[in-house]
């Protein structure tokens, strides 16, 4: 289980995260929403070790991750996708997945035992593109490859930072199916960030709402939909 406790992070004058607490259990899909600049990506960066928090704890099982660097988080079983697509552009699609499959499992060989590059690519509909350089793929394919690469780590927890951005309705729907399939197949926790509320509400077991670095609401999609605080700060004028 991933548990984030009281995490804070300040960038110059911006309090990107303030006492953020969140859990994600195996087999659970947690949505993370909030307006631009709310601190969602910063939270992902803290959990994946790319940013050391000013305070607070990030635990996976009984292992403390905060401030121990991205390699350690990856080796411990935390995988992610990037909002701004950070694939290995000059490597082939296949090699992008291979990198994660060969480097990210030093402490957990059992988690990747059954994984193969071909199966991961097939699951994301990328088999035909296996030998193409990642940099030439369409946005939708790149987002899919980000997911395949994250799964190749054999993660305990996977954080998807706006995986549906740039996708059309059909692609978004297919993506939701895939994410559920992944959750059912392996017992891993998934945290999904997105601005598409329909997508998040339909997909997630639980939703956490952030604003200005703080968690402002947390509950089932049903509860979040009707939470007056959420309606005010997140949905603004929508009734």
């Amino acid at each position: 289980m991933l548990s984030v406790e009281q995490v804070s992070k300040r960038f110059g004058g911006v309090q990107a995260l303030q006492d953020v607490t969140l859990v994600c259990r195996p087999g659970e899909i947690v949505g993370l929403i909030g307006p631009n600049g709310a601190g969602k990506s910063s939270l992902v960066n803290v959990v994946t070790g790319l940013i050391a928090p000013d305070g607070g704890q990030v635990r996976l099982g009984d292992r403390e991750l905060a401030g121990r660097g991205p390699e350690f988080a990856a080796q411990s079983g935390v995988a992610r996708t990037f909002q701004n697509l950070r694939l290995f552009k000059q490597l082939s699609v296949r090699q992008n997945v291979e990198v994660a499959l060969t480097s990210g499992h030093r402490h957990r060989p059992d988690r990747v035992a059954g994984l193969t590059v071909d199966a991961l690519l097939a699951q994301q509909g990328l088999s035909d593109l296996a030998e193409a350089p990642a940099g030439v793929l369409s946005y939708g394919h790149q987002r899919r490859l980000e997911i395949a690469r994250a799964l190749a780590l054999g993660p305990e927890v996977m954080l998807l930072d706006e995986p549906a951005a740039g996708m059309n309705d059909q692609e978004t729907e297919a993506l939701a199916l895939t994410i559920r399939e992944i959750r059912d197949e392996r017992s891993l926790g998934i945290i999904v960030i997105d601005h598409d509320l329909g997508f998040i509400m339909g997909l997630c077991d639980r939703i956490t709402v952030m604003d200005m670095g703080r968690v402002v609401a947390d509950g089932t999609p049903e509860a979040i939909r009707n939470d007056p605080v959420v309606i005010e700060i997140y949905l603004g004028t929508v009734h």
Partner: protein, 360 residues
């Protein structure tokens, strides 16, 4: 899902073959022109041209060595000639007969003026010394990135040159160190070049090589997937230094003499230009760049001394080769930053063409 686009032309690799074998065979395919050209030279060329060709093969080994670190880590390296020099000087120090040593380095420390090793043993020891220096310098360089790392490699070059020039008891200063046993010829150089190409290719295709190239594309993403960037840069640095050291050893054993200025800026820029021209992302790029520039520069050198073309006597054009070298670096960087070869090896390109041919 949309089908593959043609610019991304799926490049087939025979996945039924074990990866190591595939890499070795790929490397050998790339080495074919290297062997063919070498055999033609041995067969047809007069001795003075064999000497020129030998220098070309030394450069080839250096460029391939340079590719191992620079191409996979994507960090500019200006210090590789330091390892070429160390390799060359240490076989000179260890393998030169006593009579010649008495003249060149009578005051060598550690009783080295009294020691003469068998050339093969000397080569192994020299390579060991290169390895130790690579371990020490690699410890620092692998922890740096971008410009900082490149500047450290540059200072390495300056330091090594300073030591060669000023530590006269051991390196004989700015003068040539003569009397090294001449124990190899062009065939050995060709064999070493082929071996270097295969080693570089196996590293490039290995898990370490792919992970290092991933970090060259996006270091943060690579780290977020558990890639130990420092360790991989370190490995590539040491391997690269060993190959460059081997080039230096070859040089000394063919020429019979070494001189410090041979391992300085001129060599660094020549080999860098070769790698940039061919493309540093592949071993094929190193080979192609070295071949084109070696042959091109020979042609240009004949122009430099005032050639006669179709009855027209051209004037002397001193400095033309230096100018061309600079032009290759500038134009290459500007118009083909990935070099002539781009991201695929020669055999990978050929396999792609074959498959498309078969399909149509």
């Amino acid at each position: 899902m949309a089908p593959a686009q043609s610019p991304a032309a799926p490049m087939p690799a025979d996945r039924s073959m074990p990866p190591l074998l595939r890499s070795i065979l790929g490397g050998l395919v790339v080495a074919v022109p290297v062997v063919v050209i070498g055999v033609l030279i041995l067969w047809l060329a007069p001795p003075y041209q064999v000497r020129i060709a030998f220098a070309g093969y030394v450069n080839l080994v250096i460029v391939v060595g340079l590719q191992i670190f620079m191409g996979n880590a994507n960090i500019g390296n200006f210090g590789h000639s330091a390892f070429v020099g160390v390799g060359a000087y240490f076989v000179a120090i260890l393998a030169t007969p006593l009579a010649a040593k008495k003249l060149s380095i009578p005051n060598a420390p550690f009783g080295l003026s009294q020691v003469v090793l068998d050339p093969i043993v000397a080569a192994v020891v020299a390579l060991g010394i290169v390895g130790v220096l690579a371990l020490l310098t690699g410890f620092i360089i692998s922890r740096l990135s971008g410009i900082a790392a490149s500047i450290v490699t540059l200072s390495l070059l300056i330091i090594s040159h300073g030591v060669f020039i000023n530590y006269t008891d051991l390196f004989k200063g700015a003068q040539a160190f003569f009397g090294i046993p001449v124990v190899i010829g062009l065939p050995t150089a060709i064999a070493v070049a082929v071996a270097a190409i295969v080693v570089a290719r196996v590293f490039r295709d290995s898990q370490d090589g792919v992970q290092l190239r991933a970090s060259a594309d996006d270091v943060l993403a690579a780290r977020a997937f558990g890639v130990d960037v420092v360790k991989l840069r370190f490995k590539a640095w040491v391997l690269s230094a060993l190959v460059c050291g081997a080039a230096g050893i070859m040089y000394a054993y063919f020429m019979g003499a070494v001189i410090a200025r041979a391992f300085f800026f001129q060599q660094v820029f020549l080999t860098l230009a070769m790698l940039i021209l061919g493309g540093m992302r592949t071993v094929s790029g190193a080979v192609v760049g070295c071949a084109i520039l070696s042959i091109g520069l020979e042609a240009i050198r004949s122009l430099e001394s005032g050639a006669t073309i179709m009855g027209v006597k051209l004037p002397e054009m001193l400095g033309l080769s230096g100018l061309s070298l600079g032009a290759v670096i500038v134009l290459g960087m500007a118009f083909r930053p990935n070099g002539l070869m781009g991201r695929l090896e020669l055999d990978e390109l050929a396999a792609g063409w074959l498959r498309r041919l078969r399909r149509s």
